[in-house]
């Protein structure tokens, strides 16, 4: 990668506003060279997808591109309406959710054929089958005749990528292309993208909320906050020496399973569209804020070679915390009282035609104050096990013991005392709270029904719990839709605590949240565990999160336990082949930085080169 490569795309002065006039994206400029991957990183609401879509002259409902200048194909376009001419010609797009991005009634080969036929450069060269082969899918007729629903998520995303490449663009914009895919598939797709960048000489804009993913593939990184780029530069520079306190905060919030250090959540929440202050948008949350930060929005300042940051106080930004530090991992050898015990548990999913084993012979125990993590990809049975524990899924074998006594399998047959002692927190807090009830009602309900409290007593309890989950008591009269995702998840935690439980079952409770919010929730949970002695069963697919919360880990594949043991042990010395593959595939920031220092390449490149020519061997080496 040399800086002398031709510029593939230059965007300047992008402004996007709501139709009512509030700015969504302001003053965004990007330059992309041929054969380069630019990572655009930001949390939800930062404007990263809006930015990506406006390059195509596309604005979602309620938004309008106010100003833009795009230079592509040697042409300069300033009229947003004329940008449509670039669609599929200079630029193409790969969306976030491949499952809904493909026409369900169009065969795979026909979908690629559509792109070839619609575009000038697409007509040259390869057939749909050859394009499928270029993303390591079978190029034969049988495969080409399949419909999207007959493909796995990873295959669907490959088809989307093949489509985006087939029109012969200069730049492919990828919007969270691996969010929602499991880590093994994600790792394959990332390697694929690096290979395609080198072989097809396309430039890519890779949009993501996940710094550890972008660290795997990006040459340069732009970090967005509240609709502006707040830091940009060479990937290694930005990740190793962040100059904006927000970038640093994001890095400190990102879990890492290779070199685990305590997470440092950022205080406060991101400002919404329409609430942006006159000065620096991050000032309210910034530990190094000065009066001048509030006066006016700082410009992007040169802070290093090709490295710019939108912070007046950038020289005071501390270096990222070194790996290590003290993790509050509990000692399992201690004689803690075992609260929950699962013995030889089996569960099934039955449909009209077949019975699928969701869990088989699963045994573990959770002591007071301990956290056991169930890890696995989608379909590994981890959520079913969680639902079985709380009595929402029938048990096909084995038993569940709480405090030494066997629990009835069906939640309806459990006594209210038994139900009170085990509480569950769901993945999506938006669905888990009754949208027509106030926060107070939702939290007070378990306290009244299971805890037998009176109205006044429950009201006081709600306020105490809100304080415990660090929410203001002022939100008691609000409804779920008036809260942010992180706030809603805190309410869900408060509701679970209202029953005064001994065991908390957390099903992917942070996977729908931004990393900075996730860090805060994980810290909160850790604090609650040590203060209340809660036993926690933590379901997740994210090994970084496991490294931060779990004392003990079970690795599941297709309902079977591959490996179980103390978290530190499993993460450092995996024995089972599947665990090893999961660990290798899970992106890690610290490992990426190390790779830069030793190889001088992006990690995915290192992997590609390390396994010799023909990246296909890497891709084909592991089953699934």
């Amino acid at each position: 990668m040399s800086a002398e490569e031709k510029v593939a795309l230059r965007v300047s002065g992008l402004e996007v506003a709501t139709t009512k006039g509030a700015a969504i994206v302001e003053d965004v400029s990007l330059t992309l060279r041929q054969g380069e991957i630019l990572g655009v990183v930001g949390e939800s609401g930062s404007g990263k997808t809006t930015t990506a879509l406006s390059l195509f002259g596309y604005a979602s409902r309620g938004a309008r591109v106010e100003r833009i200048a795009v230079e592509a194909e040697g042409e300069r376009i300033e009229d947003p309406r004329r940008l449509a001419a670039l669609r599929g010609e200079a630029l193409s797009y790969v969306p976030q959710d491949p499952g809904t991005a493909l026409n369900p009634s169009l065969r795979v080969a026909a979908a690629i054929e559509d792109m070839l036929r619609a575009h000038r450069r697409g007509a040259e060269g390869r057939t749909p089958g050859q394009w499928l082969e270029s993303v390591h899918l079978p190029g034969d007729e049988e495969f080409g005749k399949r419909y999207p629903h007959q493909l796995s998520g990873g295959q669907q995303q490959r088809v989307c990528i093949a489509q985006a490449l087939a029109c012969g663009p200069d730049v492919v914009v990828l919007d969270e292309p691996t969010t929602g895919l499991d880590v093994v598939t994600q790792a394959r797709i990332l390697r694929e993208l690096v290979r395609l960048r080198d072989e097809e000489h396309v430039a890519m804009i890779y949009i993501t909320h996940d710094l550890s993913v972008v660290a795997q593939i990006a040459n340069r990184i732009a970090v967005m906050y509240a609709g502006r780029i707040i830091e940009e530069g060479p990937a290694e520079e930005v990740l190793a020496r962040p100059r904006h306190p927000y970038t640093r905060g994001l890095l400190a919030s990102t879990p890492d399973h290779v070199h685990t250090r305590p997470l440092q959540p950022m205080p406060g929440i991101a400002v919404g569209v329409g609430d942006r202050p006159q000065g620096c948008a991050f000032a309210a949350r910034c530990p190094q804020r000065q009066d001048r930060c509030l006066a006016a929005m700082p410009d992007l300042l040169e802070v290093g070679a090709g490295h710019r940051a939108r912070c007046l106080e950038w020289e005071r930004t501390p270096a990222p915390a070194a790996a290590g530090g003290h993790l509050s991992r509990r000692d399992l050898a201690g004689d803690h009282e075992v609260l929950l015990e699962v013995r030889n548990l089996a569960a099934e999913h039955r449909s009209r035609r077949e019975t699928v084993v969701a869990a088989s012979d699963v045994s573990f125990s959770v002591a007071k104050g301990a956290c056991v993590a169930l890890v696995g990809e989608s379909g590994s049975g981890k959520t079913t096990i969680a639902r079985t524990i709380v009595g929402l899924h029938p048990v096909a074998g084995g038993e569940i013991l709480l405090g030494g006594e066997s629990l009835p399998a069906d939640a309806k047959k459990r006594s209210s005392g038994q139900r009170r002692r085990i509480q569950m927190i769901m993945q999506n807090p938006a669905d888990a709270l009754n949208p027509r009830r106030t926060i107070e009602w939702s939290i007070a309900r378990p306290a009244r029904v299971l805890g037998g409290m009176g109205r006044r007593e429950a009201g006081a309890e709600v306020r105490r719990l809100l304080e415990a989950v660090r929410l203001s008591a002022g939100i008691v009269d609000r409804y779920p839709h008036e809260l942010s995702g992180g706030e809603r998840q805190r309410v869900a935690i408060a509701r679970a605590l209202a029953a005064d439980p001994e065991v908390l079952v957390c099903d992917e409770i942070t996977s729908a949240l931004d990393v900075s919010v996730q860090a805060a929730i994980l810290e909160l949970l850790d604090d609650l565990r040590s203060r209340l002695g809660l036993a926690t069963v933590f379901i997740t697919h994210d090994l970084g999160v496991v490294a931060h919360v779990a004392d003990f880990v079970l690795v599941l594949e297709h309902g079977l336990v591959c490996e179980q043991g103390p978290a530190a042990e499993i993460l450092a010395r995996p024995r089972h082949e599947y665990t090893r593959r999961l660990l290798e595939s899970a992106p890690s920031l610290s490992a990426a930085l190390e790779a830069w220092q030793t190889v001088g390449d992006t990690p995915a490149e290192a992997v590609l080169e390390g396994t010799g020519p023909g990246g296909g061997s890497v891709l084909d080496s592991s089953g699934g």
């Binding site: 969306p95 559509d114 619609a118 990873g154």
Partner: protein, 344 residues
């Protein structure tokens, strides 16, 4: 292996059961079999409801003043002296071959034989012509207007289409039919107010007589079709794959038909099938309004004269049509939705 290995893929192993080799045919056969069972149950219901509920059929047909002798003689002619199950089996066996028995009323009036089938033939044909033309117009109009309204959602073109069809659809058939007569006959005098078809002639010989009945039927059924197509199209037009096709610069026409309408079709077909079923009921009223000699008129007369055999025949035919249309719609949906088709 995710990159090469097929997921639950159709593996081609040579000789397999025909149901596996032709899943679509197997599906159709299954549905038709289920439809026949349903039709059998319906026939039993129709038979026992008409034969048993009103009491003695012969008494009902002949009226209160009939002599016991004439009642007994009609009972014998109608076979009422036999056990009810035997009568049902005979009736059903004959109905399958197209013989619906003799008209109870005409036998009561002394006729030697009066097969319902031959009397029903002409009204049935007339009704099928009326319903057929309506359906042939309704389907393309539903799609054209629905797609038009969807592509202009929220704009005047959409409001005019949706509102007009809704207002017309809100009228009962007899009110809308009467309004049409008022305008096109009383005011403008361009179309006849009744659609009389002399026995032995085809309604197509005088097509202008059909215009108002067809317009009435269209008016009351089109609204639901347009609304469904419009709603389905709007949903699909907002879907991710349509947005992606637009962002990646596929031609507008291709997106509209192959991406949007193609995926809005299945839900629309279900609604249009329901519309056709509604038409079966609506046609009885419309035929009365326009004095059109169809099945509706025939049925109304049969009910009025308490012609039990005729009522049974018409009910059974309508039930058969009803069930067939449902099967056809289900089949079309399965053919059109790859996810359903490939999982058969």
């Amino acid at each position: 292996m995710e990159a090469v290995g097929p997921p639950p893929a159709p593996t081609a192993v040579a000789p397999r059961h025909w149901r596996r080799r032709f899943p679509l045919t197997a599906f159709l056969v299954r549905r038709i079999a289920a439809g026949l069972v349903l039709l059998l149950a319906t026939s039993a219901f129709i038979f026992f409801a008409t034969q048993i509920l009103p009491g003695n059929v012969a008494q009902v047909v002949l009226g209160r003043n009939a002599t016991p002798q004439s009642v007994a003689s009609l009972e014998a002619k109608l076979g009422l002296d036999e056990p009810v199950v035997t009568r049902y089996v005979d009736w059903l066996g004959n109905a399958v071959t197209g013989d619906f028995g003799d008209s109870a009323v005409q036998l009561g009036q002394g006729a030697k034989s009066a097969p319902v089938a031959s009397e029903l033939g002409e009204p049935l044909r007339n009704s099928l012509i009326l319903a057929g033309i309506t359906v042939l117009l309704m389907i393309p109009l539903s799609f054209l207007l629905g797609v038009y309204a969807a592509t202009r959602a929220g704009k005047p073109g959409d409001h005019i289409t949706s509102l007009t069809s809704l207002v017309i659809g809100a009228f009962p058939e007899f009110v809308f039919g009467t309004l049409l007569i008022l305008v096109f006959f009383s005011l403008l005098n361009v179309l006849p107010p009744v659609a009389l078809v002399p026995p032995g002639t085809s309604p197509l010989a005088e097509p202008e007589a059909l215009v108002l009945p067809i317009l009435t039927l269209l008016g009351v059924t089109l609204a639901a079709g347009i609304r469904q197509v419009r709603g389905g199209m709007i949903d699909v037009l907002e879907s991710n794959f349509v947005a992606l096709a637009e962002i990646n610069g596929l031609p507008r026409r291709r997106i509209l038909w192959r991406y949007a309408l193609r995926n809005a079709l299945p839900a629309s077909i279900q609604i249009i099938a329901q519309n056709i079923l509604y038409l079966l009921g609506g046609i009885i009223i419309v035929e009365s309004v326009f004095a059109y000699p169809g099945v509706g008129t025939f049925l109304v007369e049969a009910v009025n004269t308490r012609d039990v055999t005729a009522v049974e025949a018409v009910s059974l035919i309508l039930a058969a049509i009803y069930i067939s249309i449902n099967i056809l719609a289900d089949f079309l949906v399965v053919v059109l939705v790859p996810k359903l088709r490939t999982r058969l």
